[in-house]
Amino acid sequence: MSLLEIKNLHVTVDGNEILKGIDLTVNAGEVHSIMGPNGSGKSTLAQVLARRDAYEVTKGSILFEGKDLLEMKPEEAACEGVFLAFQYPVEIPGIGNTYFLRSALNAQRKYRGEDEMDAMDFLPMFREKLKLLEMDDKLMNRSLNEGFSGGEKKRNEILQMAVLEPKLAILDETDSGLDIDALRIVAGGVNSLRSPERAMLVVTHYQRLLNYIVPDFVHVLVDGRIVRSGGKELALELEERGYSWTEHEPAGARA
C-alpha cells in the first residue's frame, strides 16, 4: 500500500477549477517535488492535502495509508501524520510557541492512544530540535510567530515538523524569501528528517531548494495538471529552460 494515493483529483475554489485531474502516488521514504509556475495549483494541492475546507473537491480521491483523506478534518489528517509547512505561517498573538507546540504534540499523542508528554519530558527533546534548526530559545517564549522575521517563521515551521514527526511532510514554498544561510539551515533540518518511514512533498517554484533537498521524483504542475514527471534532472532542465516548453513538447520526449 502506498502512503499517499491521489487519483483524478479535481478541486474548485470560488467556482474556478484549479486542479483538473491530478494523479500522484507517493511511497514511504520518497521525496517528491512539485514544481510549476505561479498560479498552477501547487499551493492548492498542498492545502487540500492538509484539509483546508475552502477548497471544494469535485471529483477524484485521496487515500492516505489506505484511508479516505477527504473524509478527515484538518486535525484528523494531522493526527494521522500529514504535516503542512505553510507558505505564509500565521502570527497568533497570545499563544506561546512552546505551549502551542506541546499542545499540538499531546493532541496527536492522545489521538494515537499514547500518553501525553509533560513539560519535563518535552523540554529536553524540544531543545534538541531547536539546536537542529539553530533557533534562539528566546523566540519560543514569544507568541506564535509574532514579530518573527520571514526566515524565523520558516524555520519555526520545520521545527514544528521536527517535533511532530509526521509521516508525510508537505513543504509549501518553504524556500521563498530565504537567504542562502537560512535556506541551508532549513534544508539541513528537512534532510535530518528524511527516513524510510517518512515521505516528503516539496512544493517549490525554483530549483534552488532542490540543490539542498534532493528529490527522488520531480513533477511539473501546469494549469492544474501534472504535465511531466521525472527524476531530479528534470528540475535542472526546468531551471535552464523555464516552464513553457513542458506544455508543448510531448511528455517523456527528453526523459
Partner: protein
C-alpha cells in the same frame, strides 16, 4: 428645600412610591442615621434620584442600554442571610492580604478574614466604620461619586449602608490584594443591594483591591448597584479589579470613581462574565500633575446578556497619561457596549490619552456598539482612539487545526489568546491567575467555541 423635593417626589407618581417606602424604612435603621452630614448626603441623593428618575435611551449616556426592566421592577431590600462557611468554599481565595465577604450586601464577619494586616492598613466594613470613626469616613465618602450626573450613583448614595472600607496610611505598601466578595442569594421577591466602598490610598502608598460579584443558591431577580470611591494620594499606586459573574437574572450596575493626586498611578481592570444586564462605569479624574491611569477590561457575553462599559476619563491636570484597552467577545444574541469618553480640561496640557476597543463577534446575532467621545479643551494634547470588530480568524484556526489541535480546542485557544491581551496588563500575579482560571472555566460553556455555533470558520 430638601423636604420640598421629597414631598414633590411623593406626589410625582406611583413608580416612586416603592422607592419612597424603601428609603423611609432604610432611613430608620441606616448606620449613622443620626449623623447630620450623612443624613443630608442620603437625603440630597434621594431627592436627586426622585427628580430625574432612571435614565432612558434618549439620554446620550444611555443610548445603547435600556434600563426599563430595572425601572419597572419593585425591588425590596435584600434580606439578611446567614451562609454556612461550606457555602462559600467555591469562592475561597489564597494569596490575599484580607478577604471580606458580603452576603446580600451585609458584611459577614465570620466568613471574612481580616487578621495579620500590616500596620497602617485598615480594612473594615463601611457600616462599622461609619459607627466607630464617622469623622474619618466623612472626609471622603460621597465627595467624588457624582449624584448629579448619574441617577444610579444617587440611588446608591441614598442607600449607603454597607460595603468595604480600606485605608492605607502614607508610605505603606501592601502587595497582596484585598479581596471583596459580594454574594447574592436566591430570594422570593426581587431584591436590591447598594454596596458602597471607600478606598483611600495615602501619599506614596500602594494597594490592590478585588471586587467580585457572584450569586449563590439559584436564580432570582437581584439588582446590585455598587459604587466605589477610590482616592489615590500623591505618588500612590492603586489597582482595582472588578469581576462580575452573577447569574443571568441579575442586574448589575457598578461605578468606580477614581480621584488621582499628583503622580498617582492607578489601574482599573474589569472582567464581565455574568449578569443579565450589566453597566460598568469607570470614571477616573486625573486631578494632579503627572498622573497615570490604565483602564483595562474584558467582557464575554452569551445568550441575551447585555454588557455595557461606560468609560469616562477626565484629564484635569497637565502631563497626565491615560490608556484604555477593552476587549469584547460576544456570542448568541449578546449585546456589548463600549463607550469611551475622554474629557481633557483646558488646564490639562500635554495630556496623552489613548483608547482601544477590540471585539470578536462569534454569531450573526451578537451585537456591539462602540463609541469614542473626545472632548478636548486644551490645545497641546495627544489623544488617539480606535475600535475593531471581527470574527475568529479562519487562517489562525486552520493553522492550529493543521497541527492536530481540535477545532473546539483551537477556538478556545484563540479566544483565550484574545482574552490574554487584557489579563497580561494586570499587575498582580494573584489576580492574573484568578482571572485566567475564571475565563478558562467560562469559555468551556461559551457556545461560540463549538463548531456548530454561528458562521465561524466557514
Amino acid at each position: 428645600m430638601r423636604e420640598t423635593a421629597l414631598a414633590t417626589a411623593a406626589d410625582t407618581g406611583s413608580w416612586l412610591e416603592n422607592w419612597l417606602e424603601n428609603f423611609t424604612e432604610f432611613a430608620k435603621v441606616a448606620p449613622g442615621k443620626n449623623s447630620p452630614w450623612l443624613k443630608r448626603l442620603r437625603e440630597d441623593a434621594f431627592a436627586r434620584f426622585c427628580e430625574v428618575g432612571f435614565p432612558t435611551t434618549h439620554d446620550e449616556d444611555w443610548r445603547f442600554t435600556n434600563v426599563s426592566a430595572i425601572a419597572r421592577t419593585e425591588f425590596r431590600p435584600a434580606t439578611t442571610t446567614k451562609l454556612a462557611p461550606g457555602d462559600t468554599t467555591a469562592w475561597r481565595v489564597d494569596d490575599v492580604a484580607a478577604s471580606l465577604v458580603f452576603v446580600n450586601g451585609r458584611f459577614d464577619r465570620e466568613l471574612s478574614k481580616l487578621e495579620n494586616l500590616p500596620k497602617g492598613v485598615t480594612v473594615a466594613s463601611l457600616r462599622d466604620r461609619i459607627e466607630s470613626q464617622p469623622e474619618e469616613v466623612e472626609k471622603h465618602l460621597g465627595r467624588y461619586a457624582d449624584t448629579q450626573r448619574d441617577p444610579f450613583v444617587a440611588l446608591n448614595t441614598a442607600f449607603i449602608g454597607d460595603g468595604a472600607y480600606v485605608y492605607v496610611a502614607r508610605g505603606v505598601v501592601l502587595e497582596a490584594p484585598i479581596y471583596l466578595l459580594y454574594l447574592s442569594t436566591r430570594e422570593v421577591a426581587a431584591t436590591m443591594t447598594h454596596p458602597r466602598n471607600l478606598v483611600v490610598v495615602e501619599d506614596e502608598s500602594q494597594v490592590a483591591v478585588i471586587e467580585d460579584y457572584a450569586s449563590v443558591g439559584g436564580e432570582s431577580v437581584v439588582f446590585s448597584n455598587a459604587v466605589t470611591e477610590l482616592v489615590a494620594g500623591e505618588s500612590a499606586v492603586a489597582q482595582h479589579y472588578l469581576i462580575e459573574r452573577e447569574h443571568l437574572k441579575a442586574f448589575n450596575v457598578s461605578t468606580l470613581r477614581i480621584q488621582q493626586g499628583r503622580s498617582a498611578n492607578v489601574a482599573s481592570h474589569s472582567l464581565l462574565l455574568g449578569g443579565g444586564l450589566v453597566r460598568n462605569n469607570v470614571h477616573p479624574v486625573l486631578a494632579g500633575d503627572g498622573g497615570e491611569c490604565l483602564i483595562n477590561g474584558l467582557f464575554l457575553g452569551t445568550g441575551r446578556q447585555h454588557l455595557d462599559n461606560y468609560m469616562h476619563v477626565e484629564h484635569a491636570a497637565p502631563h497626565c497619561g491615560s490608556r484604555q484597552f477593552y476587549n469584547g467577545i460576544l456570542d448568541g444574541q449578546a449585546h456589548g457596549v463600549f463607550h469611551g469618553r475622554i474629557v481633557v480640561h483646558k488646564v490639562a496640557q500635554k495630556t496623552d490619552a489613548k483608547q482601544t476597543n477590540r471585539n470578536l463577534l462569534l454569531s450573526d446575532d451578537a451585537q456591539i456598539d462602540t463609541k469614542p467621545q473626545l472632548e478636548i479643551y486644551a490645545d497641546d494634547v495627544k489623544c488617539t482612539h480606535g475600535a475593531t470588530i471581527g470574527q475568529i480568524e479562519e487562517n489562525a484556526l486552520f493553522y492550529l487545526q493543521s497541527r492536530g489541535i481540535s477545532e473546539v480546542e483551537a477556538r478556545k485557544l484563540l479566544l483565550m489568546a484574545f482574552a490574554e491581551e487584557c489579563v497580561e496588563r494586570m499587575q498582580s500575579t494573584m489576580a492574573r491567575a484568578y482571572m485566567q482560571r475564571l475565563i478558562g472555566e467560562h469559555l468551556l460553556f461559551t457556545e461560540g467555541i463549538a463548531p456548530q455555533s454561528g458562521t465561524l470558520g466557514a
